[in-house]
Symmetry: C2
Subunit: 354 residues, 2 copies
DNA sequence: CAGGGTTACTGAAACGTATAAGTGAATGCA
DNA sequence: TGCATTCACTTATACGTTTCAGTAACCCTG
């Protein structure tokens, strides 16, 4: 490994000068700077980010911690955030927690240790207090945390609004008995204040029904153990076989909806003829399914911009004032409290709805 | 940030003792070790990986560098590798190069700098020499590089074999005029020695045809600019509209195949009645498409195991002998030359083929 | 040409960790 | 009792970088 010392020796200057020269600090003469850079290039020098971030606390990279990558929505989000961050000049390090508490902790540990200047995090098992303890003052932006953080900025997905629009659309287009497929119904009662994305989506469905004067049958909430396409396919077939009649399916996300589409077809149910199906997220796969999936499209680009911009601003600000106020509280800005941003969504009607 | 020094102060021992204690080195008494660990837990200590890896050159993490994440195959691979590595006790840091040479370089730079102990890399723009220059002696495993590396271990996808099997299946089941959709045909001539996965898949198709005594029409190779589902959908419609007749489609991957399925349906072509379609990769989405996609399923679990195990073995070995032979050559083992492993595949016949 | 200011560089001290080398004290054995 | 050995711990150094505090050499100005 070639270090600054090697360059210094080869260029006949001190190691400090090399550092200054490579960072274009105006304290070195242009001729020296040019010579140093030339030598650095010749020796194929690349900086040791580890040492840099140990010393300066900055690495030029941010972390992105998602629960799982192997879902179209997740991987698209990771892709979009990583692209946008690259445009802003920072690299993104992606990791998945697999919904395991332990790996969520140890990943944050890695991140904390100044490998990343900050982190965009979709929390699952950890509370905001635990996150703060792990992050130890590093800036973070939370993606749709289930409770509104008093410490960290967050970016929310419009679960309620999107679901309300989707359900309303079905009701306005000939559906009278829609069912809802997803998860988290058990927790519904008494949890009115939650920001949990899943519960928000359920709430949007319920409100849309209520606004039309429909009192939803308890049977119309289909609990899915796993949010996977093949699992949703099997589940909807079971629902059909069990007998409760329905003429519309509002799905908690597109991954589920694709399975529903397929399961309905397995049973010879025509979509949208007999049953309308609508999803949530707007993943690319929905565009080419048979029939093409109507859905609530989230503005992922906007989500990425919000998360990255907010985080970079925090990182920048944290770098400025190293006063006493920048200590334990993590990131409470002087404007008072963290920002909570909401992503836009719009209805995309394709072939799976009437 | 709480450091070993803080623990040392609180426990009334030296920082070195803390380090020994936390690493369960037998040089400290069990009572001291217990006390140190207790204090560490109380102070909510988490190690600074940056400092650790600066000093020891080990971080306990490996890098995974893919070209793009927002494809089912890629994200599934990332997920599988990351899971398997976690089982083996190492964290995986995932990054995407977006096919840009510059980000491929700068990502390797980040990785090189001892943030990762090694890297699993799907190279696109960089040659093996350039990779070596960037990696500077760190172990790496290449995923389906286009030329057989003389320096690094690699894991190959059975492009030729899989494609041969897929094509043979179509030919054996009533197809006489299959076409092939993919990319890289321009480069075919004169590039016989390449390991390039795309070209291998083309070659498998050609050989299967030749073995049946069919001389493929030049028109039967459909060049796709982008490997995206909607793009493949549009392209196959153009092919139909242009007129060349075909009764089978061998696709370079499943992402393309899903678009082909949809495009054929758009034009009222029955699958598999009039045309059989077969994909490559075995992504989960193919299971629930309409019709469900026949494909060549790659053993991704095996691929992950091969890549991670090979890399970890290299890392372990590199740690052992710090002799003179471990220097410039990067990783040439004493058994002579790097390993080149090939992933298994099998035909998965579902509904899109006769 | 003394005094002060600028320019261009160097020396040295960190950052938090791992680990080799050193140091007493306790122990073992003759 | 004396000397070597082990034990349990400490001191000190290094990893590669950033950055602060020097320090010569030079140029003005009066």
């Amino acid at each position: 490994m070639v270090t600054m010392r090697d360059i210094a020796a080869a260029a006949g200057v001190s190691q400090a000068t090399v550092s200054y020269a490579l960072h274009d600090k105006p304290v070195v003469s242009t001729t020296t700077a040019r010579k140093v850079k030339e030598v650095a290039r010749r020796l194929n020098y690349s900086p040791n980010i580890t040492a840099r971030s140990l010393k300066s606390g900055r690495s030029g990279a941010i972390g992105l911690v998602l629960q799982e990558l192997d879902k179209p929505y997740s991987s698209h989000l990771a892709d979009t955030i990583s692209r946008y961050a690259l445009d802003r000049g920072v690299q993104t390090i992606i990791q998945q927690t697999l919904y395991r508490r332990k790996s969520e902790t140890s990943i944050l540990e890695l991140v904390t240790s100044s490998i990343c200047d900050g982190v965009i995090l979709a929390p699952s098992k950890l509370t905001e207090g635990q996150i703060r303890d792990q992050l130890n003052g590093k800036p973070a932006v939370l993606l749709s945390p289930s409770t509104r953080s008093t410490i960290y900025d967050s970016v929310y997905t419009p679960g309620f609004e999107g679901s309300y629009q989707a359900t309303s659309y079905l009701l306005a287009h000939g559906c009278n008995r829609p069912i809802f497929m997803g998860r988290g119904f058990r927790a519904r009662t008494g949890q009115r204040q939650t920001c949990d994305s899943a519960l928000q989506r359920v709430a949007g469905f319920e409100r849309a029904m209520a606004d039309r004067g429909i009192d939803p049958d308890p049977d119309c909430f289909i609990e899915l153990e796993k949010w996977e396409t093949p699992f949703a396919r099997r589940t909807i077939r079971e629902v059909i076989d069990r007998g409760p009649s329905f003429d519309g399916v509002v799905c908690m996300n597109d991954t589920i909806a694709l399975g529903v589409l397929r399961g309905l077809r397995d049973r010879g149910v025509e979509v949208p003829g007999q049953v309308s199906v609508i999803g949530f997220d707007g993943i690319g796969e929905g565009e080419c399914s048979v029939p093409a999936l109507s859905t609530v499209t989230l503005d992922i680009e906007q989500c990425a911009r919000m998360a990255v911009d907010t985080l970079l601003e925090r990182i920048g600000r944290a770098g400025q004032g190293k006063g006493p106020e920048g200590g334990q509280d993590g990131q409470l800005g002087r404007e008072g409290g963290p920002a909570h941003l909401k992503v836009d969504c719009r209805l995309t009607i394709r072939e799976s709805t009437r």
